[in-house]
Symmetry: C2
Subunit: 252 residues, 2 copies
């Protein structure tokens, strides 16, 4: 039962929050890809924030190598930081190294403090169910630009996960940013009650975010749309190992 | 004419934003108090983030000394970090030292980069008018806990200032957090169009914020209510000097 629910608007804020469980959200696209890879049967996903590290870990572990530079996979990679590619790839029983920056730093940076889960809209219900078993939960927006900039898409996805947790623990006390997420959700409820065909706020905010628009310009609108879908995966990725610039996750 | 409008959810984020003008918002209560002091005729306000520094600067400059520890003025101070006290005090023609942490750090930390203004609901229209003359504007939430935690009240006040700037420069391109503020404002418009007596979102969010509730518990509900009022002051405080832990402001 959750008694306190916080939302950290940037990874740096999470370090000022005492929690028993951190849910890191990098919805475009790292945590969506991680949840999708584990849902597709990958044994471990190792997120790495430097290309050379990603390549050497992949070679050591005979792992598949996914990831991006400027949105696209570097030469020699098996796939992009793409949930659509992750869903189609033959990853069952394999380890996968994912080269990506913002999400990795938040996942690795918090792992010494408490249980760290990777959350996205793709696994919103499943990750909320897992987080709800902890007393103090903090949902962490991974952000952009090495975690220095606020990312609207992460906030939008975090708000959906937060509502699921509050539905399970209605008496949980929300912190300030959690209160803002609840406020945003009320607007969405109103909009959708009057206009049943209205897109969910989360999908609208993800598509309208600076990162979402940049991915569309790169021809990745399929990924952006997929990242806005809820509950395409049951996997709850949990960090089971970490170090400078990397975090290893498996499904709980 | 503003072409780009950003909102920084924490002071640390502002350092990753290129802007020609930063508007620092610490609505409970530092920037409200600063705007009110200058509106009441104070010559300079010197914000200082350490008590010893505040006392020594006040002695040097024969200045009045306002400020707070845990919400209340320390012994020997002339007033609290209180806009209500600021409005009543005989400050015309005097310098005032204000001892306060979050707002001071954001004001001093950004002053080497660009023009820095102090904004609040108290001077929302005036500060937005001044900021609108700059091309790239960033409104900065000062936050709580030495600027490490997001503060709902600062976001709510920043959203009001942002809307005024967008009204003057409708084609200004908003960043991600600015987009979230616009979303929040849409909900408020709807709420108030249906329920004309409904409190503005800004006042509701300020009263509901963790800091707002803490001030009420200290018996400072008058200050909280005053900080939620718009346009009680015409003064636009601008930083004209700064150093480690302090910033000097005068009215533009």
């Amino acid at each position: 039962m959750t008694t306190r629910i916080e939302l950290a608007v940037l990874p740096a804020e999470a370090h000022a929050v005492e929690a028993d469980c951190y849910v890191v959200v990098d919805v475009l696209r790292a945590t969506t890809t991680i949840a999708t890879l584990l849902d597709a049967g990958a044994t471990f996903v190792i997120a790495a924030d430097r290309e050379a590290l990603a390549r050497s870990v992949a070679a050591e572990r005979n792992a598949l190598l996914f990831g991006e530079i400027g949105g696209l996979p570097p030469p020699g990679f098996d796939g992009g930081n793409s949930p659509l590619e992750a869903r189609e790839a033959a990853v069952a029983g394999r380890d996968v190294v994912l080269f990506t920056t913002n999400g990795t730093r938040a996942l690795a940076g918090l792992a010494s403090r408490a249980t760290v889960l990777a959350g996205a809209l793709a696994n919103a219900t499943a990750v909320a169910r897992a987080a709800s078993t902890f007393e103090r939960v903090c949902i962490v927006c991974a952000g952009e630009g090495h975690g220095r900039r606020f990312a609207l898409e992460d906030f939008a996805a975090a708000a959906v996960i937060l509502r699921h947790i509050l539905a399970a623990s209605p008496s949980a006390e929300p912190g300030d940013a959690a209160g803002l997420a609840i406020e945003t959700a009320r607007y969405d409820d109103w909009l959708r009650s009057g206009l049943p065909q209205q897109t969910a706020a989360s999908a609208r905010l993800i598509a309208g975010s600076e990162h979402g628009r940049a991915l569309v310009r790169l021809g990745l609108s399929g990924d952006v749309q997929f990242c806005a879908l809820e509950d395409t995966a049951d996997a709850v990725p949990v960090v089971t190992g970490w170090g400078e610039g990397w975090a290893q996750l498996r499904a709980t």
